[in-house]
């Protein structure tokens, strides 16, 4: 599966909340770094959770934490709102005093907080600069930049911002930047957009809608869907029917309790298969299936990356 991603510099990961976007995105970044590529994994907004959770070493720039090292090839960073706003002004304004004014002035900072889409825009601006190798804080050029986007609806909104700005303004600094961002973002040869989901009802439905919305509202296509938390099946259909029969006939006790566990397990698997079948019928994309790996932490990331390195994309073309 890695070939699909090895050909793209910018890799965007989205999906419903709670499906494991961050783990899958980070594992993908790690798998690419194992191919000898230099990779940057970006978390955006809110708080960065994975570096702290994984106990990674900080890389400082002055007093601020710039990034964390996963290994010699893979770096993690958190693109935090106030920092990307500053990045934008450093670039757009001619001298530092004006930059300080733009970010510290009370009225202007309220404006940046309130202007529709400004946060999304400056974030994409920084990502574009990182991809180009022209970002002042990340001056290295990365072979791959993997971005852990917001959940579904927010990701659609964010990805549509450069288009929206270009529809409003044709000339001026913001219009030029929006065009530059669009050149990378909306080019499917340079950017891969992937959805992570799990084989359950709501995540599957949301993924199907999400792919459609990305196509209709932003004009971006999803070519690969990562199916996370796929569990192995322990029992056959016939055994499953046998369990149901036993549950009807046995007296309560340890034996029946064990069969009840097995029957519940069976139901979970049937439901998983139902939703796997459903998503494969609904989406004409390539799928990657990832197993459940316990415990959480660094070893999970490494194991998932190994799986990603080994599996070939299953090509499924359905209705």
């Amino acid at each position: 599966m890695l070939r699909h991603f090895l050909q793209r510099q910018l890799i965007l990961v989205t999906g419903k909340g709670g499906v494991g976007k961050t783990s899958c995105g980070l594992s993908l970044a790690y798998a690419l770094s194992e191919q000898g590529k230099k990779v940057l994994f970006c978390e955006i907004g809110g708080r960065a959770s994975s570096p702290i959770f994984l106990g990674l070493t900080e890389v400082k720039q002055g007093a601020a934490v710039l990034s964390w090292k996963f290994n010699s090839k893979l770096t993690l960073t958190h693109l935090e709102t106030s920092a990307v706003i500053q990045d934008y002004f450093r670039d757009a304004l001619p001298y530092e005093r004006l930059v300080r004014f733009a970010t510290n002035n009370k009225i202007l900072s309220r404006l940046w907080a309130a202007a529709p889409s400004f946060n999304e825009f400056v974030l994409l601006n920084s990502i574009e600069k990182i991809c180009q190798g022209t970002h002042p804080r990340f001056d290295e050029r990365y072979d791959h930049v993997v971005v852990d986007l917001h959940a579904s609806g927010h990701a659609v909104t964010m990805l549509g911002v450069p288009k929206g700005i270009n529809r409003i303004a044709k000339f001026g600094a913001i219009a030029e930047r929006a065009t530059a961002i669009g050149k990378i973002l909306y080019d499917s040869r340079r950017t891969a957009l992937t959805i992570v989901t799990i084989p359950e009802e709501l995540p599957v439905q949301e993924s199907v809608e999400l792919k459609q919305r990305l196509q209709d509202e932003v004009g971006m296509s999803v070519e690969c869907v990562i199916l996370n938390l796929i569990r192995e099946r322990h029992f056959s259909e016939k055994e499953g029917t046998g369990f149901e029969r036993l549950l009807g006939s046995m007296n309560e006790g340890s034996g029946k309790a064990l069969i009840r566990l097995a029957a519940t397990e069976m139901k979970h698997r049937q439901r998983q298969e139902h939703w796997l079948g459903r998503i494969k019928d609904c989406l004409a994309v390539r799928f990657v299936e990832l197993p459940v790996i316990i415990p959480v932490g660094r070893s999970r990331i490494e194991k998932l990356a190994t799986v990603m390195g080994e599996v070939t994309l299953t090509q499924e073309w359905g209705g």
């Binding site: 709670g18 309220r110 579904s152 609806g153 549509g160 409003i168 001026g172 036993l246 309790a257 097995a262």
Partner: protein, 380 residues
């Protein structure tokens, strides 16, 4: 210790907060159903429910409350009522603008403004603010005993809790007026103070350099039309903030038993209290259960041999059964440890409900009832 159900009895508004994908929508509907069955008039405000949940409630959901038929769905014929609505942010925002603008020309100017049209979905806090606005409408124009609110899938749940204050603060600064004041097209008429003029000049320099005159023009038009609405909006935003902090409003924080998610859950509970919104308790969804008390592997084996499960060819079926039992036991033990750690770190005495992982998707009212039963129970 109190149960979650007891903790919310005297509230008028129950907010559900929690990270995405932990089952907020389903559990909030189930809680509403449990309360309605207790004889109260309940409304559940949901943001983006799965179609199947709407089907489960047996109705099409709109931006206005619809009464759910508990008689034919559950055979319930008591006093209690369950109402449900699904937020339509765009409709709510437009209604809000219409109700505040006394001039239909202004409504047209707002709704036709390019920035509003192209980017209003991306306007900071729009979804959150409209949800709270809807909630205010429900509290003032209807007579529900309790309103259960499924918070929107925010980038951060805190955005939701902060939305009214954020909007109020923003309007307090009268930012629209400032910008219009600095607008070069009006500058000659309205700027009197020279300090203002100087600041205004720098602001304009920053804006036109950083954004470009084209975009600033459009943005200004947006602010100009919003200025008409500002003072009314601000008063409303202040009332919304008060409603959130009222002793009749409380928050449940929902999560699943995963160490990363529980960290977020604990953090949220703390942040909610810091914002002076009452924290009511935790709900942990999709918990694992291992029937330790009625489980003895050797006994199980002999019982199953008696009913003839392991007559050849499949003694290896036994190995698979043991593997499944082991998996479940490990999962349950890990869960108990994680939950114990969580509870020793964050508010040990807070009410907590555990909702076990269901073997079937929930697609009707009786499915919701199976979830509902757990809110009145103490954690095991």
């Amino acid at each position: 210790m109190e149960t979650v159900l007891e903790a919310i009895q005297d509230k008028k508004i129950v907010l559900w907060a929690g990270p995405g994908g932990v089952g907020k929508t389903t559990s909030s509907a189930a809680l509403a159903l449990a309360l309605a069955r207790g004889g109260k008039k309940i409304c559940v405000l949901t943001i983006d429910p799965a179609k199947r949940l709407a089907d489960a409630l047996g109705t099409n959901l709109t931006n206005q409350p619809t009464k759910i038929d508990l008689q034919s769905g559950l055979g319930y014929s008591g006093e209690g009522e369950l109402w449900c609505l699904m937020l339509d942010p765009k409709e709510t925002l437009e209604d809000l603008i219409r109700s505040h603008a006394n001039d239909s020309k202004i409504v047209d100017r707002v709704l036709n403004n390019t920035v509003f049209n192209q980017l209003s979905g991306a306007m900071a806090g729009t979804l959150e603010y409209t949800a709270i606005e809807k909630l205010y409408d429900l509290t003032t124009n209807f007579s529900f005993d309790i309103i259960v609110v499924d918070t929107p899938p925010s980038k951060s749940v805190l955005d939701f809790l902060e939305a009214p204050d954020y909007v109020a603060r923003f309007l307090e600064e009268n930012i629209f007026r400032w910008f219009v004041l600095f607008d070069p097209k009006r500058a000659s008429r309205s700027i009197t103070s020279s300090i203002l003029q100087r600041t205004g000049k720098v602001i304009w320099e920053v804006l036109s350099k950083a954004l470009g005159a084209d975009f600033v023009d459009e943005l200004l038009e947006f602010f100009r039309v919003m200025e008409f609405l500002a003072s009314d909006f601000r008063l409303r935003a202040v009332s919304l903030g008060e409603m959130m902090r009222s002793p009749k409003t409380g928050t449940l924080v929902v999560g699943i038993c995963d160490p990363v998610v529980l960290k977020d859950v604990g953090f949220l509970a703390e942040e909610i209290s810091k914002r002076k919104i009452e924290f009511l308790g935790y709900v942990v969804n999709r918990t694992a259960f291992f029937p330790r008390s009625l489980f003895e592997l050797e006994t199980a084996r002999s019982e199953l041999e008696t009913v003839g499960v392991f007559k050849d060819p499949s003694a290896e079926l036994w190995d698979r059964l043991v593997a499944v039992a082991d998996e479940q036991r490990t999962a349950t033990e890990t869960q108990d440890r994680v939950l114990d750690e969580f509870r020793s770190e964050y508010r040990q005495k807070a009410p907590l409900a555990m909702i076990p992982r269901m073997a079937e998707d929930i697609h009707d009212l009786s499915g919701l009832m199976r979830v509902a039963g757990h809110f009145g129970a103490l954690p095991v």
